[in-house]
């Protein structure tokens, strides 16, 4: 069995009702029987719940928001490297991915490895280039328009009939049924995620998600597909089950062959009643439901850690269809001095 003692930094500790993927990734790493390393949590806000998961992280640090620029992030990571033996990072949030990609060469120089897509790969899967990637891969896709001002929203609303989906550039999706709803959703989304917004035809069908890891050479090292069986009011999966429809992994393989994708990605696919498969979007990171892969015999965070460290991942068996997840909310009880530690020092140490 592979054993590893790496110190791994993971972002996305915002395990809220719209959870970041960090905790799920950390639990997957810890679930590997050969894991003998340390986990460093990296968070943007002192109340990110994952900061207080003392059974999952060894220590944690606040890092600067992506809006503060990559140089302040680099400085912070350099500091963390000096006080920990940080050997690798797994960024998990869309909004930070571009910054980490641009820092990859500098971080490698100081001994922090990552396994991320190139900037070109990252860009091509952007929501605003969905049509382009679908043309290249031969996937079906919903009618999509990019809107940068309210006037264009009115024009597009005449082209794509209601209801349609209005999405933020990084996160957030609203189903809008009228022009009034569209206008409100536009302003709300712009205020939160900036411009542009994406208008997408609303298709009726069953939504599936595929998580896979590309090796950067055109192959996938593993993957699994999942059907959400319960959603929150924000449309986030609260329960799901692993399925075994070969079409989904074939789509992931095609995407990797075409882009030579490097790292984890999540494809959102809608299957219509007439058996057409529409690519809805591709997220350039692990999803919040990543821990399901452990139960399905596909520990993909470990595979990414191995790839980052130049270790060939062992071949993974077929994912176990029927493996389910059902999320749960828990209260973490925290002593006030922990809060003081993170607010005053920007770091917290459990072990």
């Amino acid at each position: 069995m592979d054993r590893f003692e790496w110190t791994i930094g993971v972002t996305g500790l915002n395990a809220t009702d719209n959870p970041g993927p960090g905790i799920s990734v950390i639990r997957s790493l810890r679930a590997h029987p050969g894991f003998n390393g340390k986990i460093i949590g990296l968070a943007y806000h002192y109340l990110d719940p994952g900061l207080y998961a003392s059974d999952l992280i060894d220590s944690a640090y606040l890092i600067p928001l992506p809006s503060e620029g990559v140089q302040s992030l680099r400085q912070r990571l350099e500091y963390i490297k000096t006080v920990t033996d940080l050997s690798m990072l797994i960024p998990t949030l869309d909004s930070e991915m571009s910054g980490f990609i641009s820092l990859e060469p500098e971080l490698r120089e100081i001994g922090i490895r990552m396994f991320l897509p190139t900037q070109q790969q990252y860009d091509i899967r952007s929501k605003i280039r969905l049509a382009e990637i679908c043309e290249k891969t031969g996937f079906d896709y919903p009618q999509t328009r990019i809107v940068s001002d309210i006037e264009s929203l009115f024009q597009v609303s005449a082209e794509i009939s209601f209801p349609y989906m209005l999405k933020g550039i990084f996160y957030g999706a609203s189903l809008v049924k009228t022009m009034d709803e569209a206008s409100m959703a536009f302003h709300r989304t712009v205020a939160q995620w900036g411009l542009p917004v994406i208008i997408q035809e609303f298709l009726i069908g069953e939504e599936y998600d595929v998580l896979a890891v590309g090796d950067g050479k055109g192959e996938i090292v593993g993957g699994l597909s999942m059907k959400k069986t319960s959603l929150t009011d924000k449309g986030k999966g609260w329960a799901g089950v692993v399925v075994n429809n070969p079409k989904f992994l074939t789509m992931a393989e095609t995407f990797c062959q075409v882009t030579k994708w490097r790292g984890p990605f999540e494809m959102e696919i809608l299957k219509t009643k007439d058996e057409r498969y529409f690519l809805i979007e591709i997220n350039p990171r692990f999803p919040a439901w990543t821990y399901l892969c452990v139960g399905a015999d596909q520990n993909l965070p470990v595979a990414v850690a191995q790839l980052a460290m130049g270790v060939k991942p062992q071949s993974l068996p077929e994912s176990k269809a029927g493996t389910m997840f059902v999320r749960i909310s828990l209260e973490q009880v925290v002593k006030i001095d922990r809060l003081e530690e993170i607010i005053s020092k920007g770091e917290i140490h459990y072990r």
Binding site: Y208, K227, T229, G240, V243, N244, K271, G322
Partner: protein, 89 residues
């Protein structure tokens, strides 16, 4: 029954209590003992005559309704997308 369909049927999981999981779509269903019995026979590649005969041997049933009851169950399987719409014995 063609091989693709047979393989697809073989993948469908049925528990002793009649709980069905379709690994292709992730959908779940419940069926009664007779439904479980018919689905199991379909998974083994049996045709309508064999299914009819097996049911006759295992359950008390009226002969006149038997064939139409099997077809009705087949239609339910089609609606649940466990069998293709164009499925015929």
């Amino acid at each position: 029954m063609d091989m693709a369909l047979l393989n697809r049927l073989k993948d469908i999981a049925i528990s002793d209590s009649g709980f069905i999981f379709d690994p292709y779509s992730g959908a779940t269903f419940n069926t009664n003992e007779t439904g479980r019995f018919i689905l199991q026979l379909l998974k083994e590649g049996n045709g309508i005559d064999a299914i009819q005969s097996e049911i006759r041997n295992h359950f008390k049933t009226s002969e006149e309704d038997l064939r139409s009851d099997i077809y009705e169950f087949i239609n339910l399987l089609k609606e649940a997308q466990l069998l293709p719409k164009n499925f015929k014995f």
